[in-house]
């Protein structure tokens, strides 16, 4: 600790006082009093000047310090002092500089951190807004604390309308017809397809996935909802179809026209054209229908192979399906003079738990086979038998029959009976394989009885629909596909 400043002050003061005093003492010996006064005054004046100049010089560092501190305080963080007075001022100056350095550093760091935080926030915003799925973050009180652009689009609300609001007041989620609430879905791992109702009743089908978030120090985040818009998937369904599915759909389109126009032409000209000419159209129609069966079979086999064959089992009226199938194949039967009959028990048939489209395919395959393998003039009959829990359908013909060694392989894919008649080459061998898959998926059984040269009986069972089984089973068959959000072609 330097004491020089103090010494300097004392020196100055002393000098200022003693100098005039000494000089006047030296001069008091002289009787010239007036001259003494003048000289004393002069000397005093000189002393004052010396004191002032010296103070001025000594106090300059203080002034520098004041100015620098002022400028630093105004925000000029590069301001430093340069005091080399070799005394306490220099010390203050050095400490001032140190403080200025530290402050400057701190400010710089703060600014850098702020920039980083802003950049991170922007990055996060950009990422969130580019995510296709809607994201909603919710705190412990179920208030919405974050939302991205996709969520705005799905719900129909703007961020302003959602921020801070309770999520279950503005956004309603329904699974089937029941609303699910945050306490249900804000769990560790929740995924369900649901219907989201947002602003003014805007409905969107979404796949809701939620994640419960643990409490952290800096946030009040509790739960994150991810909304995957399923309606877009339906728009893109064309692109998601695999090749076979797409091809078979495309093939069915012109075929629908062919079948349609031929059928209408035949119906309108039955009385007007000779039978021989009508026959030309009739056969075209039959061939088109066979083509349709082929396409359906290819599609179904593809589905079975990919394990995507699903059936929607619902209680359905069986008789209409039976009648329609028979009606559809009447032309084919008539062409060969085969009698085609439906034989049902008295009274009405109970509802069965089945899928109308698939049942149509099974019956069509079996009936078409029966007609194909029955000689002209023969008879094909569809018989239904009732038992308490199931309805048995028998397709019986008096056709060429099936050799005993072929029977165990009959339902295998691509299996065709090889025998001496030329009919053996017909067909792809898929019909029975598909029929078996469908019947078994519906909970039924399928089997065959045949005697070579005499005829064949194909039989399958379907469960009778009771009220409870209808509800339980149809959700079993359909629910998972829907819940997984996966579409099934």
């Amino acid at each position: 600790m330097k004491n020089l400043l103090l010494i300097k002050i004392i020196l100055i003061l002393s000098l200022g006082i003693t100098l005039p005093l000494s000089v006047s003492l030296l001069l008091t010996g002289s009787p010239l009093l007036a001259r003494n006064l003048v000289i004393t005054a002069l000397v005093g004046g000189v002393a004052v000047v010396i004191c002032s100049v010296s103070s001025f010089i000594f106090l300059k560092p203080l002034r520098d310090l004041i100015n620098s501190a002022k400028r630093f305080g105004e925000g000029n963080f590069n301001e430093r002092v340069d005091i080399r007075s070799d005394d306490e001022f220099e010390e203050v100056g050095n400490y001032f500089n140190q403080m200025a350095d530290k402050l400057s550093q701190t400010f710089q760091k703060l600014e850098k951190d702020t920039q980083t935080a802003i950049a991170e926030k922007n990055k996060l915003s950009e990422v969130l807004s580019s995510i296709v799925d809607g994201i909603i973050a919710v705190d412990f009180n179920k208030n919405i604390i974050l939302i991205n652009r996709a969520a705005e689009q799905i719900t129909g609300y703007t961020e302003g309308e959602l921020q801070g609001q309770k999520v279950d007041q503005l956004i309603h989620l329904f699974v089937d017809t029941e609303e699910i609430l945050p306490k249900t879905y804000c769990q560790v791992n929740f995924t369900k397809a649901a219907k989201l109702i947002g602003k003014e009743g805007k409905q969107t089908r979404v796949n809701l996935t939620t994640a419960k978030v643990g409490e952290t120090q800096q946030t009040t985040l509790s739960c994150i909802l991810i909304l995957h818009d399923l309606s877009k998937e339906e728009e893109l369904e064309r692109m998601k179809l695999d090749f076979v599915s797409m091809v078979s759909h495309e093939l069915k389109t012109p075929l629908t026209s062919i079948i349609g126009y031929l059928s209408v032409f035949t119906n309108e000209n039955k009385g007007k054209l000779p039978k021989e000419e009508l026959d030309l159209i009739d056969r075209s129609f039959i061939a088109a229908r066979e083509l349709l069966i082929l396409i359906q079979n290819i599609l179904n086999v593809n589905k079975i192979e990919r394990e995507e064959m699903s059936v929607s089992a619902e209680p359905m009226d069986y008789l209409p399906i039976l009648s329609k199938t028979i009606e559809d194949l009447k032309n084919q039967a008539n062409q060969k003079n085969i009698v085609l009959n439906l034989n049902i028990p008295e009274g009405s048939l109970p509802k069965v738990l089945a899928d109308p489209v698939r049942m149509g395919e099974v019956l069509t395959n079996l009936l078409a086979n029966a007609i194909t393998y029955t000689n002209p003039g023969g008879k094909v009959e569809v018989i239904t038998q009732l038992s308490p829990n199931e309805v048995t359908t028998v397709i019986s013909d008096n056709g060429v029959g099936i050799p005993k060694e072929a029977i165990p392989h009959l339902f295998n894919k691509f299996f065709r009976v090889s025998n001496q008649t030329q009919r053996a080459s017909k067909g792809t061998g898929l019909g029975l394989y598909i029929a078996k898959s469908i019947v078994e998926k519906l909970g039924g059984k399928i089997w065959v009885e045949s005697e070579f040269g005499k005829g064949t009986r194909f039989s399958f069972t379907l469960p009778v629909a009771t009220i409870s089984s209808g509800v339980v089973d149809s959700s079993r068959f359909v629910g998972q596909e829907i819940q997984a959000g996966g579409l099934n072609y």
Binding site: Q203, L255, T256, S257, V264, S323
Partner: protein
């Protein structure tokens, strides 16, 4: 049972099929209008009421389900019957159709136009005579 009083809207993008259905439905005595895509179908639905909608699912631009969703959102209490037409067999799509309020669906290729006309008659007037057996609307 008077077909003449019933108005039907057919939304189908395939020209041949659309023309054929319109022809057969008109012959059966119905008042038929048609649209070639979802957007114009929706416009027509908004312009006047229809008794029955025959709706193809695979349409260019707005597909059949989107049309149905739009329509039902704005007209939740409409008594109009909807029958979906499709050559697809996608269960999920069909189920959604029912959830959106469709009453039935038909696989186009499996139904001749006259059978489709019968389905329309069934839907509007209830089941016809028991013989010849009519295919009831599949649910």
């Amino acid at each position: 049972m008077d077909p003449k009083s019933k108005k039907i809207l057919l939304v189908e993008d395939e020209d041949f099929i659309r023309d054929l259905y319109v022809r057969q439905l008109t012959k059966a005595g119905f008042l038929v209008k048609s649209a070639v895509d979802g957007q114009s179908g929706l416009t027509m639905l908004k312009a006047e009421p229809f008794d029955l909608l025959l709706l193809d699912i695979m349409l260019p631009g707005m597909n059949g389900l989107q049309l149905l969703r739009e329509f039902k959102t704005q007209n939740p209490n409409s008594p109009m019957i909807t029958i979906l037409l499709t050559n697809l067999g996608q269960e999920a799509v069909i189920k959604e159709g029912f959830e959106l309020g469709a009453q039935a669906y038909l696989i186009k290729a499996s139904y001749t136009p006259d059978q489709v006309v019968n389905e329309v008659k069934n839907a509007l007037f209830g089941s016809q005579s028991p013989t010849p057996p009519q295919p009831a609307p599949t649910q």
